[in-house]
Amino acid sequence: MFVAFILFLVVVGTLVFHFWSPYWLTPVASNWGSMDQTLILTFWVTGAVFMAVGLFMVYCVWRYRYQKDRKAEYKPEDKKLEFRLTLLTAIGVVALLAPGLIVWKDFVTVPKNAVEVEVVGYQWGWNYRLPGEDGILGKTDIKNISDNNPYGLDLNDSNSKDDIMVQDADLHLQIDKPVKLLLRSIDALHNFYVPEFRAKMDMVPGMITFYWLTPTKTGEYEILCAELCGTGHYAMLGTVLVEEERDYSNWLAQQITFENALAQNRTILQLAENKK
Amino acid sequence: MDHVTDKLPKGLSGLTHDLGSDQTAFKKVPWGKAMMWIFLLSDTFIFSCFLISLMTARASTTVEWPNASEVFGLNFFGVEVPLLLIAIMTFVLITSSGTMAIAVKFGYEKKRKLCAWFLLLTAIGGLTFVGMQAFEWTKLIFHEGIRPWSNPFGAAQFGSFFFMVTGFHGTHVSIGVIFLFIMARKTWRGDFDTARRGYFTSMKSNYEAIEIMGLYWHFVDLVWVFIFAFFYLW
């Protein structure tokens, strides 16, 4: 009796905690509300299974608790029941998986009009690079990295001249404009994660990873690193500011291009000369 | 007892019969042999992981991969013959595998001395292989300037994988050679005929040990077939 009661409390308590507590998903600020929908669908389906199986178990514990004169049933198997349960589970799994795969297709298919923004992760902070007027990011090489060229841009690539460098932990994004985030790391693994955007992806040194999103709500959102990258992992924070077009343009106008940076810094030009 | 094992069904129905039967799943397979087979299965996964890593590294690097047949070429009386040493090593290892197979056969026939001689031959073949590998390593390190971390021919991973994969295989061969010598001595001394007890395990010796040794040795040869194809010929 006691055992069944406590187990009952545990199962029901889980449900109560869900409704009673204020802890739940943060309000979504990107187009990935579809992820939330899939998550919530899964939450309720699995929640129902948890309640059903849990309560059934509690019932069995209470109903069939030890009695001296009771003899347990002898039933090695029940093919029909087992088949039905298998089928039901399989259907449930398909119902959970199918929407997931559809959303995943959206996730890996970047829209054509997405603007590329490069995020550079380092131990332990964030930098950004925008493609500038030509809309193309210049190529990079870790080996070019120096104090004067923190991004490791290829000085011979004409695309890199107008690239806009944002050497700041804050990234500004324009609302309702799809962006493709190109993720690059120069040292360890990092992960560019904004909880309100839902999406995340590791940044792997030696290659470029990506994901895309459309910010749908203005505001300031915290950037977290979501892949252990050393002692300073927990402190690798930044901010994304999602702004209306006017604010965004103002901000953009204040940023300097790579060429300007070059002009300001003779030594880097000298480096380029030497390299040729 | 013979009639039990002789009348076992064969093929697919044998499979279901064996798995459904009591006592043993591998009929007529002694414990030691079954253990060696399962160990080799596990070892296969080790070598597979090495070779899969090699494939991944090679296919994902943008730096040029050195041409193995040039790097491992040998100047033979003024003529550059590609992969010559490797070819000879392959032949040596296959030969030792052949002598091992014959040793196993004589082991079953309880021809003590013949068996011991062929085991010794096999061991010498293995020793030759290791010796040639040592020669190859020194040549690469001192003459070609190849290091585990870099090499003058191209992708750094070339040297890394070369030393790691051949080193791991060479370790297998060396261990095999040591055991072959031990086995040869035990056979010659007649341990398997007198069921003398092992020094460490204090279990009775048995000619099965030769077949188990054989399995290991053939496996080493088998791995070399794959290394030859994927490292040297690719």
Binding site: G138, K139, T140, D141, D154, D157, N159, L182, R184, M207, I208 | D2, T5, K10, G14, L15, D18, L19, A25, F26, K27, K28, V29, P30, A34, W37, L41, T44, F45, S48, C49, I52, M55, T56, A59, S60, T62, P82, L83, A87, T90, F91, I94, S97, G98, M100, A101, I102, K105, Y108, E211, G214, L215, H218, D221, L222, V225, F228, A229, L233
Partner: protein
């Protein structure tokens, strides 16, 4: 006891081994010639893999006596290899993906 009834099964004429031995030499020689004669592309790979699997099959079947073993052990040993095949397939796709992102962003440029 265990030996007696094995004797008839696993002891073979020495000729079998010599034959296989010879065949292994021939296949090794062929695969060496693939390199020596500088075959390239698909043909090279088809031949290398063909000879490789032929040699592997001969060693396992005859030298390691799998041909004479019961099906149980053969199946138990060979089925796990399918995991390796999946691993190989995935890693082929993965390394190509890595290669192209590197080529695209670091070598050729967008």
């Amino acid at each position: 006891m265990a030996q007696e009834n094995k004797q008839e099964v696993t002891t073979h004429k020495i000729g079998v081994y010599l034959w296989i031995w010879g065949l292994l030499f021939v296949f090794s020689f062929f695969s060496y010639m693939v390199d020596y004669l500088n075959f390239e592309g698909l043909l090279r790979w088809a031949l290398i893999l063909l000879f490789m699997f032929a040699k592997a099959a001969l060693i396992m079947a005859i030298f390691m006596h799998l041909f004479w073993e019961r099906w149980t052990i053969v199946n138990v040993l060979l089925w796990p290899m399918s995991f390796i095949l999946v691993f190989i397939g995935i890693m082929v796709a993965e390394s190509e993906y890595t290669f192209f992102t590197r080529l695209f962003y670091f070598v050729v440029g967008t």
